[in-house]
Symmetry: C2
Subunit: 189 residues, 2 copies
DNA sequence: GTTCCCATGTAACCCGTTACATGATTTT
DNA sequence: AAAATCATGTAACGGGTTACATGGGAAC
């Protein structure tokens, strides 16, 4: 009864409504939770094998013609119980946040002004694009009662992209000063 | 000239001002970039070894009494050039965002109402605590001209914690409805 | 009729995390 | 005097990512 990683429970959860093959499951991931929990296809297969060994899933080979044969997995009662127990546990210690961008910003006084400009402009552009994308998703889910929970995750992303834009507005002038203040070109002295 | 992970450049950057041992560097990480780029101590040592092998660092053994001997590393010209080239590169494809919380929220319709309540309350509490902590850091750095860049990273966190709180305000009622709508207890039929 | 995409999966590498080791100092 | 912390580091496990493999359709 050892603790599995988030990925395992995420896949179990996605399999709850209907059985799927690894390939189908992987593309399902891409259309649902990949925004906040990406899972590589190869990892899906590994997880499926493990979850089957734990009797959380039962797999069945399906022979196909024209396309390769596949193995479809369905959640067992034990698997359903496991994912529901995990969901009911309010512990989210495994939260993380990593940002390469912030590492670069932290060292902004070592970035030439024009490069910093490119960096910030790119960041703003991505945030705008992403905000638009997420707003569209949230709008498309509005009013569909069964999809309120997915919609809430899209709104989370939207709020955070707006926060990024507001942050950029606040710190851009400050960072430009930091970068401009630095002497570049004299590597020795 | 292969691409190194973010961690390598982050450590190089922290070593730019002054040479340090792995232990010192690790605690330096804890007081600076750990908020958005945590690095385990054991990984610091591995990176130091690699960066020395690449001639980005030069290490020197220092004998001490009372405390264990140590090895202090200083950045070589090649190392400085490498980290500055990395900083000047506006590519941040290695960005990631993962949230176990959002995975649970995505499956909110499988969480009993009282558990969902605990989950959201805990999330709100952590966000408030974290916002206060980051606001204090940002305030303590205000006006110190050499520390504008670190302050910008703290402000990023602050904006995002506030975004989380605003998001919670928006989606809490919706999620409670989702959870309350679900039938619990009937596991078979 | 090559070239790209679909549908399935396997193999290998490497970063990140957790656990282990150790002896001196400070705290309780 | 026992327990916690400091100041160094090493070892091992495992999740996540990237690259490899394959053979049939679809597109150009």
């Amino acid at each position: 009864m050892d603790r599995l990683p988030t990925t395992s429970y995420a896949l179990l959860g996605l399999l709850l409504p209907s059985p799927m093959s690894g390939y189908e499951l992987s593309s399902r991931v891409g259309k649902s939770i990949a925004n906040f929990w990406p899972i590589a296809r190869s990892q899906v297969y590994r997880e499926l094998a493990r979850l089957e060994a734990l009797d959380y899933l039962r797999g069945a080979d399906v022979v196909q013609d024209r396309v390769p044969d596949k193995r479809v997995y369905e959640v067992t009662p034990a698997g359903k119980a496991a994912v529901e127990a995990w969901l009911a546990d309010p512990d989210v210690r495994r939260e993380r946040f990593r940002s390469t961008l912030l590492v670069k910003i932290f060292f902004a006084d070592h970035i030439p002004p024009d490069r910093l400009d490119t960096l910030l402009k790119g960041c703003r552009q991505r945030a705008e694009r992403e905000a638009a994308r997420l707003a569209a998703i949230a709008a498309s889910l509005e009013g569909k009662p069964g999809l309120d929970a997915p919609r809430a995750t899209a709104l989370h992303g939207l709020h955070h992209m707006r926060a990024t834009l507001a942050w950029l507005d606040e710190v851009e002038p400050m960072l430009r000063r930091v970068s401009a203040r630095q002497p570049f070109g004299g590597e020795g002295r």
